[in-house]
Symmetry: C2
Subunit: 389 residues, 2 copies
């Protein structure tokens, strides 16, 4: 096991009716930015609950943080915070709203002129405190310090992390997921699934506890996802999927072990260039990446096949291959496409995509063994076309 | 799944050589109480490492926090802190030293006259900040707000928890466990094992992730314990056991599920009355309690047998029974006694012990179903004698 540091001070309020804790959590907060997305919270009752909870506060609303939160949009919120001396940001939404608010919170306190530098690795000095009401479980951002921001004018999608970006609290009420459309339910299963595989499908460092904790999330996601469409108002199913999503990226399972994240790096560029949902890109890239990196990941893949899919073949190679196959079949069983051509992206674009991946990584090779360079990204994207399995 | 709140802000520095992080963690701390146990840290090099790390600080040493930390001893440290305007407590030791320091930290800031009230449920107002260097993995106190304190003059052992008792940081270097005697290694396996069963061997509330996370710790403890005596200087084995111990009681696996803790309640009285090690008492009480509460726990016990011990019997009853048997055999395989008579405690004491258990609980019945009253404690203790299986 590697040495590690673990710190996660986010207070989680989990369960039905927990939005009711909001007033108590906001004692001593006076001027609050209430930030949300397109306004869907106005049709499912959440907006009213929040407004009621904030009744005795000075509240500035900021509507319109879009999926893959846009830098230009967020800058408007930064101005609003500065102008109104906001002392707390309440993010109500899914990963995009919360990620956007993490950026706003850091940018308000950023001392250099250009807040884009935060996305280019410049450490932020401090941040406004933020709290979250999660409405769309998927990214795990409600319990971590990470965020991903897009800047469409540059065709870029970049992540950042800052010690100041942990939400002070996150309210997670699984009943708010009842109203999600099928597409978001599917994304909310695939995204955490791949968060786990990025921290688990690597190589062995003798960390059986972390392995089993990863497998616990993967198996539970698979089992519960088989129930959610049949029984969409089953509270426990929603609660289990939601808690899996939070745990998949709260940092715990990745402690002391190698991590990959190349699937995310390639996926981000597919979103930046073609507007695919984040989870859709992961479902395309992961199976192809596992095939391309087969030798590096073979041992763990074989273990994964046994532990997660209960497969049993005589050879490590056969087991490992079957694990990749099962992974893609699982994504497809949810109704998610897993091939680049299914989204109409022409093969001739592959080189351009690969170039962008390496540009964003500043030329650094990706993967837990730093074995994925431009050439490998091209191979992975080629493998992600049908008939190239 | 039940609603829950989760909050754990302890910063963990895990791995070989992490005591070296101490100076950075103590920036801005000036007057430090350096508290430890009997002085064994002077023979294994830890004391010197700590002294070196604290070289530029004002340090008051407090030696002599005993196993099952004694109230009278801790009061002396409270006086020392007050007299010297201590602003930080560094606890270097195992569960007893850290628990003792949690009490000292709260008692220094306690406004009422009698600090014993903290153990009787009076909320503490604030506490001195504490940091830990863990030398004996077992109780999980390094990453939670709980503590257990003994007062021998009253024959009492009581726990308390306070929002102010989370350590600010805990340094966990598995190499410091190389010098532990066999007895402490065994305790450090049984104690976390039973911490998990207290949160897991209850009844089902549809929480498959928490169940699997519990099983992950139990299976890993069993597997790694089979290696530690054969290969005592294997770093990974020590690291895995140590990380299991922390995770067994950092609050996570118990979130959203029923919890028992009756084994601990009964065990505490055995320690208070006869001086048995905490883990020794758990190994005696748990198998007997599972037999006594068989009907309440049968379903989960059967699941446990399959998931943890890979057993397979046709009936739930048979599976459940086999799980209890395997648990006791596991404790015995470590070299730990599991019967009350093996410690020479006379059967005629049973009623007295049971009376004390219920006195400490203020007459409240114990267990996840509140089904363990005085009569059941007597039955459990009777079952814990040999030939009463």
């Amino acid at each position: 096991m590697y040495n590690f540091e673990y710190y996660n001070p986010v207070k989680i309020m989990f369960g039905q009716g927990t939005i009711g804790h909001l007033p108590a959590l906001l004692t001593n907060r006076n001027k609050i930015l209430f930030a949300y997305g397109s306004g869907s919270i106005k049709s499912n009752g959440i907006y009213e609950q929040i407004k009621q909870a904030l009744a005795h506060k000075q509240v500035i609303e900021f509507q319109g943080i879009e999926p893959n939160p846009e830098y230009e949009t967020l800058l408007k919120a930064v101005e609003l915070c500065k102008k109104n001396n906001i002392d707390f940001i309440l993010a109500v939404g899914g990963g995009s709203v919360i990620d956007g608010c993490k950026f706003i919170a850091n940018a308000v306190k950023f001392k250099k002129n250009d807040p884009w530098l935060i996305l280019e690795g410049s450490e932020s000095d401090s941040a406004l405190p933020i709290g979250c009401v999660l409405t769309l479980p998927a990214t795990g951002t409600e319990m971590n310090p990470f965020a991903v921001i897009s800047r469409r004018s540059l065709g870029q999608k970049k992540d950042f992390t800052s010690a100041h970006s942990f939400p002070q609290f996150s309210i997670i009420d699984p009943t708010v997921t009842y109203s999600l459309s099928e597409r978001y339910i599917i994304n909310g299963i695939i995204d955490p699934f791949v968060h786990v595989t990025e921290q688990y499908l690597t190589f062995d460092v003798n960390s059986p506890l972390q392995n089993r904790q990863s497998e616990a999330i993967l198996i539970t996601l698979i089992e519960e996802s088989a129930k959610v469409f049949k029984d969409p108002n089953n509270y426990d199913v929603r609660a289990n999927l939601t808690w899996c999503a939070t745990q998949a990226l709260n940092g715990l399972i990745g402690k002391g072990v190698p991590q990959d994240w190349a699937t995310h790096a390639i996926g981000h560029e597919l979103t930046a260039l073609y507007g695919l949902d984040h989870a859709q890109t992961l479902a395309i890239v992961l199976p192809a990446l596992l095939k391309n990196q087969f030798e590096n990941k073979k041992q763990r893949l074989a273990h994964y096949s046994k532990a997660v899919f209960k497969l049993n073949y005589a050879t490590e190679g056969k087991l490992a291959k079957a694990g990749i196959d099962k992974t893609e079949k699982f994504f497809r069983s949810l109704g998610c496409k897993t091939r680049l051509n299914e989204y109409g992206i022409p093969k001739k674009d592959i080189k351009k995509i690969a170039t962008k991946v390496l540009e964003t990584s500043a030329g650094k090779k990706l993967g837990e063994k730093k074995s994925i360079g431009q050439e490998e990204v091209v191979e992975i994207l080629e493998l992600s076309y049908s008939n190239n399995s």
